[in-house]
Point group: C2
Chain length 394, copies 2
């Protein structure tokens, strides 16, 4: 990558983060009256729902803390991080220590789910905030919540599954991948032997159970020992999700002194997923595909969602950074260009989240129960910092 | 409607039903080995999943019984109806009398849900089959299952709700509408005072709680006494669903010696829903809209699904039949033409179910957990019979 291109990209990511994404959410999301954030917003920031999804509360709290820890010690970022942690502490938890999935504007619980994803976003919020504020108690809370996740995850029957387990047992790629990412965040606030163990187990599950060389794909759902299930759930591929896992593994390779085996496997997942997920007809990454080519039963299967593109932009840039291979730079340019042509809301800022297959906007929502300031600003921050680092090394 | 148009339409509906829709499913769906039907099919009938959704088992059984009862005493139709009832009896029920939502090919239970829709399709299967086969036991089973539905529906707390009820209580338009339709089918096998009572209650709920003159819309979800909830769930409109309810009410008007009040209200729902649901840009009926114009949070909100179009084709034809108003004939022509331009699979027969907003095909699936032979053949059968009846009255 030449210097001009690098500087141009740094500008796109850094200025996009600091002058567009963050201001959009800082302006529209904070709820001064009831605490927390209102993130279920239309294109111009209009509040579409006052309900507060705890996924997004955790992620926005992580983001403000992360900005404070990695960009600049800005008091407003620390303030909003603290604002988020207060709401999570006050309204996020059920009496059993698990977290609610969503609460009303004033914090009354609406839903609790039989999955542990909310809790993982609680962990990264508390752990990143602990580093920002030097709050030992927050770190302890993060650690306790992390251990609760592991207990629920490892104890059969503690979470009631959707499918009757006597008939069919499936496990989801999402759990080892999110445990990997969550542990990586937690580890930055202080390492423990448990963390390496969890990460090693997660990596082993991904490599041995979810990666399928016979399909050249990473599957979303397999049996307890990686058995292939020849049904829609068992054949499901989410290329963007696999690409996100790929770069988590690349980060682990970096952390482990550029472990070559980890890097090679991560690149294999990335290669497979780009080849399979890229839409040759309209460009962009398809949301769900069936590994055997049957139609996916999901309504949204051929939509273009913002977050797989965020993950692929950073994933390919990181792969280029770590391998020096030109094809990753080519992929990065292709992904970057398609995404920046289709996703940004040129009128109100930030990105649309939901495009039709042909790239036209399907929904103008900026936020909902899942979309909030997370994948986009994390990509912008990571790409910016990676390019800066590459620049200083030259 | 002139005679030539009527005869042409009869041909489209009757021949579509008898020479296209029914043969597609008769050829591809029956499972001779394990009983029941495999209905999760790709465009050409390829089996995409062998799992058996009990919604569809109930509906296909109802359909074959219905054809036998209303079209012709064909032994193959009765055979497949019996084939469906046997599978439902053998594998459809949990020990508590409730039904499973899905089972494996060989009938082992996969999922059971906290909604009663599977059971309502069990009732119409058993009741329609009872009439076809003269099977008194099936009628008793239908009646028992119907009473179980009422008991679960009326007893607070018996079904665990998704949303924590201390915080928010919502009821869905789907329950009174499906109770109305289920009772109408059951009543044909023999009336009981309970049926009129249930239908009257359902109608009263629809009119007084779900119809909102201030929006000129029928809402999908309201509070226990019809309270408006200014959140995405509370603002949700499914125009095709409301139109289906409208024609159930028109049928009730017919049954009650052309009750003018019922007809007027049904037409009001129909008018509102057509005005709101029709897509002026691309044609067709949008799947979900927000009553205040905010974006719907559902991925599929602007897709064109087959079934709202089936319901609207019959609903407008029936409204024309009952009122003689030309605008219903105009709507019927518009809906019929758009649907027949976009949904039929000209290569393999039957209809595609899932189109993008612009009318292009999103998924080639002929069946899945919800789509099977129900809305399309019911529309074809009802339209054909209505046009024949109108013809003979002239």
């Amino acid at each position: 990558m030449d210097k001009a291109r690098r500087e141009q990209l740094i500008e796109v990511y850094r200025d996009g983060l600091l002058n567009d994404t963050i201001p959009f959410w800082q302006q529209h999301a904070p709820d001064e009256q009831h605490g927390g954030f209102m993130t279920f917003l239309d294109a111009d920031g209009t509040v579409v729902s006052t309900d507060k999804p705890m996924w997004v509360m955790g992620r926005i709290t992580w983001l403000f803390s992360r900005l404070y820890n990695t960009v600049e010690k800005r008091e407003d970022w620390l303030h909003w991080a603290r604002h988020g942690v207060s709401f999570i502490r006050e309204h996020g938890f059920d009496s059993d220590g698990r977290m609610f999935y969503s609460v009303t504007r004033d914090g009354r619980p609406l839903r609790k789910r039989r999955y542990l994803y909310t809790e993982t976003f609680g962990v990264i919020a508390l752990a990143e905030f602990a580093r920002a504020a030097g709050d030992e108690q927050a770190l302890q809370e993060a650690h306790d919540l992390y251990r609760l996740i592991l207990r629920y995850y490892k104890t059969p029957g503690l979470l009631e599954p959707k499918v009757i387990p006597a008939t069919r047992k499936l496990k989801s790629h999402a759990m080892p991948m999110i445990l990997l990412a969550t542990t990586q965040v937690l580890r930055q606030a202080g390492d423990e032997p448990l963390y390496t163990q969890v990460i090693d187990e997660s990596l082993s599950e991904v490599f041995n159970h979810f990666m399928k060389p016979e399909f050249r794909l990473l599957l979303e759902n397999v049996g307890p020992n990686g058995e292939f299930l020849d049904e829609p759930d068992g054949r499901e591929v989410n290329p963007g999700h696999a690409i996100e896992t790929a770069w988590f593994i690349m980060e682990e390779s970096r952390y482990r002194d550029n472990d070559a085996t980890l890097l090679r496997r991560a690149c294999q997942i990335l290669d497979w997923s780009l080849d399979f997920g890229w839409d040759d007809q309209y460009g962009g990454i398809l949301y769900f595909k069936d590994c055997k080519g049957y139609p996916s039963p999901k309504y949204e299967h051929d939509m273009k969602l913002w977050w797989p593109h965020n993950e692929a932009i950073y994933g390919t840039l990181l792969a280029y950074h770590l391998t020096g291979e030109q094809r990753y730079l080519d992929w990065h340019a292709r992904l970057h260009d398609w995404s920046y042509q289709h996703f940004p809301d040129r009128q109100n800022g930030e990105w649309f989240g939901y495009l039709h297959r042909d790239g036209s906007v399907s929904s103008t929502l900026k936020g909902n129960m899942w979309k909030g300031p997370f994948h986009l600003p994390r990509m912008q921050l990571n790409c910016w910092k990676l390019l800066e680092q590459a620049d200083s090394r030259r």
